[in-house]
Symmetry: C2
Subunit: 261 residues, 2 copies
């Protein structure tokens, strides 16, 4: 998710001319970007006035954004007012992955149990086939990365969509607001470790099996497969921890370590 950067950070020139979206949305996107880039240390207090100046918005939309980020979990509201950048422990990341696994498991089961049109099945198969073809090639260039991340994200989104549960969608979105809970969070660490390639192949085997279970209506199997699939992310987390690669995952700067960094 790339975010538009503006070529100026200067004076209070009327932004109306360049802003194609609302101030609030612009500020929200840019603020998320700033946080995920690690512009704020965990625990750091965020002051509205300088932030507003930095984002080129007034305090009114900024406060909306801060409130929203607090709901998403990236910020924490202080009881006395104001906000603080939130930090996440490695345990938190494990737990977030666990919850994604649980929800994806539920999604896969419901997807298996509920009615699916031929078109939906075809698109699921197509997504898996595309991933199959991609991981067989393995040209480790940027094009490959982008395509894998796209297709992997599509697959996971498709499973949730096939569950046809607006409520599940809602919960899933909520979990995924935490960047390191995303199915793609550990892709970069996968490409940089010796066992990474293996992991990607295993991951794709999971995708195939999950899709088959869904198509065949095997709910219990779909669920346990999806859960196990999410454990790959956890394995990747441990590997990344061992190899000090954690800076490669999104939102890395928000991770609090017990001792030094």
């Amino acid at each position: 998710m790339t975010v538009l950067r503006f070529p100026f950070t200067d004076h209070a020139l009327t932004q109306r001319s360049v802003s194609l979206e609302s101030q609030t949305l612009r500020a929200l996107l840019e603020m998320r970007e700033l946080m995920l880039r690690g512009e704020f240390r965990p625990g750091e207090r965020l002051r509205e006035v300088p932030l507003a100046a930095r984002l080129n918005v007034s305090r009114t939309p900024l406060r909306l954004v801060l409130d929203r980020l607090a709901q998403e979990g990236l910020l924490k509201a202080r009881p006395t007012g104001g906000f603080v950048a939130n930090g996440f422990s490695v345990e938190d990341i494990r737990d977030a992955i666990e919850i994604r696994g649980v929800l994806e498991g539920a999604a896969a089961r419901q997807a298996a149990e509920r009615f699916k049109t031929n078109d939906e099945i075809a698109r699921l198969r197509a997504c898996v086939a595309a991933l199959d073809a991609l991981v067989r090639e393995t040209p480790d260039d940027f094009e490959f990365f982008a395509r894998y991340i796209d297709l992997n994200g599509q697959f996971h989104a498709m499973v949730v969509a096939l569950a046809k549960s607006a409520m599940l969608n809602r919960s899933m979105e909520h979990v995924l607001t935490l960047p390191f809970a995303s199915p793609n969070a550990f892709f970069l660490t996968e490409t940089e470790t010796p066992e990474g390639k293996e992991t990607i192949l295993l991951s794709q085997a999971h995708h195939r099996a999950i899709a088959n279970a869904i198509i065949d209506g095997e709910g219990a199997r779909a669920e346990s497969l999806a859960r196990e699939h999410s454990r790959l992310a956890r394995t990747n987390l441990e590997t990344a921890l061992r190899q000090q690669l954690l800076t490669r995952i999104p939102g890395a700067s928000l991770i609090k370590f017990p001792e030094a960094i």
Copy 2:
């Protein structure tokens, strides 16, 4: 959750003298109350100026509240701006219960798997014992109702707390912002149907079994029990539907029926 009501709805008298809390919090609580009481029909557009007048706040804190309620799912932001009261189908309620079940299942399993202090175990046992004693009495008065709702809520909260996962807590809270997903949502229908008493006893049997499984470290059992436990809410939902008792659950007015009400 009773909400303070103010004895005046009149002119723009400076509220500073009577408001013990922030305007935003007051407006948030009152707005939730209004929605759950059915003051807005599903799909109805909410206009800021009259609402602000009604809640005796200015538009600035009100907009924070509306934005927040939209995140919680009670409102929906229109693409062109403004908000609309959200409606929920019976399917949505089923799905929300399902997700609560899935998350509570995960909580129960993690609670079983993770370390528990003697004190925590004692408090869990005490809660179950209190519920046991309560349901054995069965004096169907208001006092009983209040106590059951309190203890039942405590039990469910305790299971989540024992999972010791801030992330799970966060997800659970998010699901529970939908009133009909709460573990207590169907209590009133339970007290009004012939099979209700039976259901309460069965529910309590579940509580006992879940607690034992957690204490004994039987994760898989705890999970499947907790899931099955949530199915009681679904059964209650179907019963309530058959007997037209759906108006007794919180947020009833937000339910959209295919045909007439």
